[in-house]
């Protein structure tokens, strides 16, 4: 059980509207007290200012550092069970904690698929034993993610699934999607949609445009995403279901979602750091590390996504952490799997939005804590008194160079190799442990 005093940090907790210098007292692993200095002038706090029950109290001086709730990543692939050579619950959650995340939601495209309570139970048990952070599984919408028959959504929810998605295998059949949005209302869980019209994207591997033409690679037009975003929003309107759009990558999707929100439809959306950081240009030279689905798009799309983040159209930043083995990426471009290992670069890339003036630091933290927590209806991502202490302390000025070989994730597949990012976690407190980086 940890007892800890974090002193003089800039505490940001959107769940309580906190952004100020102050102290956090952790007692027996739980947040005991959060004290924000009223004065604008920074005042050094003495240990005696807070009443401490424990005798052995470790103190962290967080002066000049940012203290926030452990981040929530509502879209990761932990690959276990079935693809342990790519990632395991253990290695994936270490990567999460290193990246500042203390809660991750793992997608169901494992082997076997998480489409029944016994797989859910396995993941939860394994995560309890070996996970370095909280793991909230996402169950499949349909059996084996085939898009044909609904999976046992209610039973899986009772076992611990927090949301449902056929991520990677979009539900093509509109009637099944309608039923999923209707049926899941009983259990009040979000349906997370990977929006892709597979009949239109066909064998596409990168964004359709001049670059796909130049490289001779099959393109995926933006419309393949947008058609499904529009369909699912229409179905959410029809059913009143709880829809969350995964990994928004195009300007058109942002516009459709913005319009839907204006009309009061129950829809939320996420994007990933790569969709606001790099364009399809990254694929030149046939770099399979930049092969991701949906594909990297254009400058125009990046601008639209930034605007969507700024005006609240996009609620959440998630990583879509998709680790793959080196041998799988060292292949013909067409054959290499889609995906980017994202947990260890997400915060650094996201902090660029603050530097560019797109988001305030507080707004950014909201998209990484409060908003996903609201969508998932969890108490995680908050520094409220009584919560388990899941905290990340970030040095906003510390630079680091992205070197895939140093990733703790098994997935070294990053298109950001060699980038210098500013802002990284220096301490993560997760599941009763203090990790110093």
């Amino acid at each position: 059980m940890i007892n800890l005093l974090i002193k003089n940090g800039r505490i940001i907790d959107p769940s309580q509207g906190i952004d100020g210098i102050g102290d956090i007292l952790i007692e027996a692993g739980k947040i005991k007290k959060v004290r924000i200095q009223k004065s604008k002038f920074r005042k050094e706090t003495k240990n005696t200012d807070l009443k401490i029950l424990s005798e052995e109290l470790k103190t962290i001086d967080a002066k000049g550092l940012i203290v926030m709730p452990g981040l929530i990543d509502m879209h990761v692939h932990l690959r276990e069970p079935g693809f342990e050579y790519k990632e395991t619950i253990k290695t994936g959650t270490i990567a999460a904690v290193k990246g500042g995340f203390t809660t991750v939601c793992c997608m169901p495209n494992t082997y076997p698929v998480n489409d029944n309570a016994s797989v859910t139970e396995f993941i939860i048990r394994k995560a309890a034993q070996e996970g370095c952070c909280i793991v909230l599984p996402i169950g499949a919408i349909t059996k084996e993610q085939k898009g044909e028959e609904l999976a046992a959504i209610g039973t899986m929810k009772n076992e611990g699934c927090i949301a449902f998605s056929d991520d990677g295998h979009p539900v093509l059949n509109s009637l099944i999607m309608r039923r999923a949005l209707e049926y899941s209302k009983t259990f009040d869980v979000p349906i997370i949609s990977h929006c892709e019209d597979l009949t239109l994207s066909e064998n596409g591997v990168i964004n359709e445009g001049l670059i796909s033409l130049t490289l001779g690679l099959n393109g995926i037009p933006s419309e393949a995403e947008q058609i499904m975003v529009f369909r699912d929003i229409s179905l959410a309107e029809l059913t009143g279901g709880n829809l969350h759009i995964a990994h928004v990558s195009t300007e058109g999707s942002v516009e459709i979602i913005r319009d839907a929100k204006k009309r009061g439809i129950n829809v939320t959306a996420e994007t990933c750091p790569h969709y606001f950081s790099i364009t399809e240009e990254a694929v030149r030279g046939y770099d399979t590390n930049a092969k991701v689905n949906p594909p990297l798009r254009t400058k125009r799309d990046i601008e639209a996504i930034k605007n969507g983040l700024k005006d609240g159209t996009i609620d959440v930043i998630a990583t879509d952490h998709a680790p793959h083995h080196r041998d799988e990426k060292l292949k013909e471009f067409d054959m290499a799997p889609f995906g980017i290992s994202g947990l260890e670069t997400a915060l650094g890339l996201s902090l660029r939005l603050v530097k560019e003036g797109i988001l305030t630091l507080s707004q950014l933290v909201e998209k990484l804590t409060l908003n996903p927590a609201r969508i998932l209806q969890t108490d995680k991502g908050s520094l409220k008194v009584g919560n388990d202490a899941h905290i990340v302390i970030v040095d906003g000025n510390k630079e680091f160079k992205v070197e895939a070989e140093k990733f703790v994730s098994k997935g070294k597949n990053t298109p950001f190799e060699g980038w210098v990012l500013k802002g990284m976690p220096v301490i993560t407190i997760s599941k009763g442990r203090v990790y110093e980086w």
């Binding site: 001049l210 033409l213 001779g216 690679l217 099959n218 030279g285 060292l330 013909e332 067409d334």
Partner: protein
Amino acid sequence: MLNRKDLLGIKELEVEEINLILDTAAGFKDVLGRDIKKVPTLRGKTAINLFFEPSTRTRTSFELAAKRLSTDVINFSVPTSSVVKGESLIDTALTVQALGADFIIIRHSSSGVPHLLAKNLRASVINAGDGTNEHPTQALLDAFTIREKKGEIEGLKIAIIGDIAHSRVAKSNIYCLKKLNAKVRLIGPPTLIPKETKEIGIEVFHNIEHGLKDVDVLMMLRIQMERQGKGFFPSVEEYSKNWGLTSERLSLAKTDAVVMHPGPMNRGVEITSEIADGPNSLILDQVTNGLAVRMAVMYLLGGVKR
């Protein structure tokens, strides 16, 4: 010599490099006209034809080019290799390199495979066609053939007709001919011409009669039968009626217009036999010149420097 290890595509080449290859090929063409058609230029070197897709003319052409340069050449054909046992591409390539290959001549159905090998191997990688990306030696031999017939490529009106979208030959030819300042236009149905080609300033015609007016060179492309039934065009018959090259259509071009085809032809589909075997046809010259151009490419790359 070329200051590069590999020939991956025309888009990577400078104009000077293209001209150097064409000039060098002219020299080799003289050699091919002699009684003894072999030179000792690359004696002791080894070339491996690594063909993951069926090919007769390109593979044979490279094989013969290597032999004319006194290079040992091995044909690695996929059906008899470990690839069918599940060996990865990179392992196959490393194995072939370990056998001492100086040149790896690669054809593969996936775009970018030559680039992947070039990055991971010491050997000179020559792209003999990758997916729908490029087929650089075809474009070079086409340019050589046009230059040989017309003297100069600059300013010529050249029409490429057919399935541009899936044609690596068309892509390499567009890059090459544009670099040599020809006026390139594309003719075909909208489903077979990527809309982005207009962005790079190439004229597009969907009506062949309009497109063929006053052109100097007609480059026909093979219509791949497997495109039928995929929504690109309703049937081969309909394609042929609308975009096939007939004598009437050819008469719209300049009187001294030449007709080319990279082969293999579908006679009676994209081109009539009358034209293929007629006086305007350069189709067999293309094959002969391919040998000289491929000798030039191998000679100028030189293989592994030890």
